[in-house]
């Protein structure tokens, strides 16, 4: 999906009117920044609230008597153990336990689930789910929705002013507040916030209402990336790939213990053997010394000049006020405080292995 096949957001006209600068991402033409610029957009989200158009992401409804069993096969998940409205961060794994995509699954009813998948993997994800669903009495339905995120400490208040009550909804829960709406308390910034999938006409009304308030501000993909990086959250395609397993990625908290031991998900055998032998590299936070950013692709070396890993995401953290990065580091060197070097255009920049996140999460857990 490149070139002539670039896809456009349903609300593109609103972004144009707001003065967005567009760029290509995962086959979509996306707003990268608005006139305030990435720095101000980022800080506005952390201090107040920001509005993001994330309609490039895909919502799938999985339903039917076999829906739970289908998801238990597709993901390292105990879908039946989820309460109604409970969400869970999980993955599609391949047979080698590599991460095909990372997702959020929310239980909507006894036999009904919402799956939120990444833009770049939506086609692959649908194909994958449909192939598996042949063995189960379940339906996989991609939904045609605008998908908005409202993120930041004032997100709930902004929604309240727009007539949407969020009071009882806690972090990692999702509900259907109106017909064809899906609203979850979740996000990709480390802040409290919401993600709302809804029909285009409703989305236009909601956006108008949110932007009527002078504190309402669109936030582009550039700030979305710096926010998630400070929050230590992974971007699939960079920090997670089909060659990386959840053990190396430090994401085993997403897989319940009994599922690790006895689950029948795709990739279970491979995952168990990786757990048994331990990963050769681990995902780690990286804090460069000084102000020069260290970016994806930079090689990491140890104090003796030996290869030590590589950077998968890197940039500048507007809230931290210094460069931030993450990457994969040889397990023996992955402890926070370890001193490494990143090769940036031939210059060796000192970096410290750092614990993630760089900015503390501020989720509303109850």
């Amino acid at each position: 999906m490149t070139g002539d096949h670039t896809r456009h957001l349903p609300l593109e006209d609103l972004h144009q009117a707001a003065g967005a600068r567009f760029g290509a991402f995962a086959g979509w033409s996306m707003p990268l920044t608005y006139p305030p610029g990435v720095m101000k957009e980022h800080l506005h989200t952390r201090e107040h609230a920001g509005l993001f158009d994330i309609s490039h992401m895909k919502l799938f409804e999985v339903s039917g008597p076999g829906a739970t069993a289908l998801l238990n096969r597709a993901c390292p998940l105990d879908a039946g153990a989820l309460d109604i409205s409970q969400s869970k961060y999980t993955f599609f794994l391949n047979e080698a336990a590599g991460i095909i995509d990372d997702l959020i699954v929310t239980r909507l009813g006894d036999d009904r689930f919402m799956v939120v998948a990444n833009a770049g993997n939506a086609v692959e994800d649908e194909k994958h789910l449909r192939e598996i669903s042949a063995d189960f009495d379940a339906r996989v339905e991609p939904l045609d929705r605008v998908f908005l995120a409202i993120q930041g400490p004032d997100a709930w208040a902004a929604l309240a002013r727009a007539g949407i009550e969020t009071g009882s909804l806690l972090f990692m829960h999702g509900v259907e507040p109106r017909q064809n709406w899906f609203m979850s308390r979740s996000g990709y910034t480390g802040e409290d916030g919401f993600e709302i999938g809804l029909p285009e006409a409703d989305a236009r009304d909601l956006v108008a209402s949110l932007l009527k308030d002078e504190r309402g501000q669109w936030i582009g993909l550039a700030a979305r990336d710096s926010l998630r990086l400070e929050a230590g959250l992974c971007l699939h395609g960079q920090d997670l790939t089909p060659e990386i397993d959840p053990v190396s990625a430090g994401l085993m908290w997403a897989i319940p213990k009994e599922i690790r031991a006895a689950g029948h998900f795709i990739g279970a055998g491979a995952l168990r053997s990786i757990i048994g032998r331990g990963p050769s590299q681990k995902r780690a936070g990286l804090k460069p010394d000084g102000r020069q950013p260290v970016r994806a692709g930079a090689a990491l070396i140890d104090g003796d000049g030996n290869p030590a890993g590589h950077v998968t995401s890197g940039g500048f953290g507007p809230s931290t006020g210094h460069p931030v990065a993450m990457g994969y580091v040889d397990t023996a060197l992955a402890r926070p405080g370890t001193k490494l070097f990143a090769d940036v255009r031939g210059t060796k920049i000192p970096v410290d292995v750092a614990s993630l996140p760089f900015t503390p999460h501020r989720y509303r857990k109850g």
Binding site: G37, V38, M39, D225, S226, R291, Q292, R295, G315, F316
Partner: protein
């Protein structure tokens, strides 16, 4: 009197007494977004036209700025080490990048004047 030239790569040069002060244009800084780091060149480095001279880094990406003409670096804008955002706020003033002694002043003839540059960016 100083004369200002522009390149197709969105750089400006203010030339006085055989020395050019070089920076990027307002259009270029807008395209790059908020700058967080400028990798300045060494004094005395000899550059040929088209050689990468400086790296400017935004939150999101690193971009090269190329030598618009042949010459030798005589000064780098040290205030950018403390405040790289000067390039955003004053691209054609305090946000200059480096000064270079021109090796071949006839190269200036192929550059644009301000009116030409404005037409170039439309």
């Amino acid at each position: 009197m100083a004369k200002t030239y522009f390149t197709e790569d969105h750089e400006w040069l203010r030339v006085e007494g055989g020395v050019a002060t070089v920076g990027i244009t307002d259009y270029a800084q807008e395209q790059l977004g908020d700058l967080v780091f400028v990798e300045l060149p060494e004094i005395g480095r000899k550059l040929a036209k088209g050689d990468p001279a400086v790296v400017v880094e935004s939150v999101k990406a690193a971009s090269d700025v190329y030598a618009p003409v042949d010459g030798e670096i005589t000064e780098a804008n040290a205030s950018l080490s403390a405040d790289p955002s000067l390039v955003n706020s004053a691209a054609t003033g305090d946000g200059w990048l480096w000064k270079m002694k021109l090796a071949n002043e006839s190269q200036l003839d192929s550059l644009m004047d301000e009116a030409g540059y404005k037409a170039h960016i439309g």
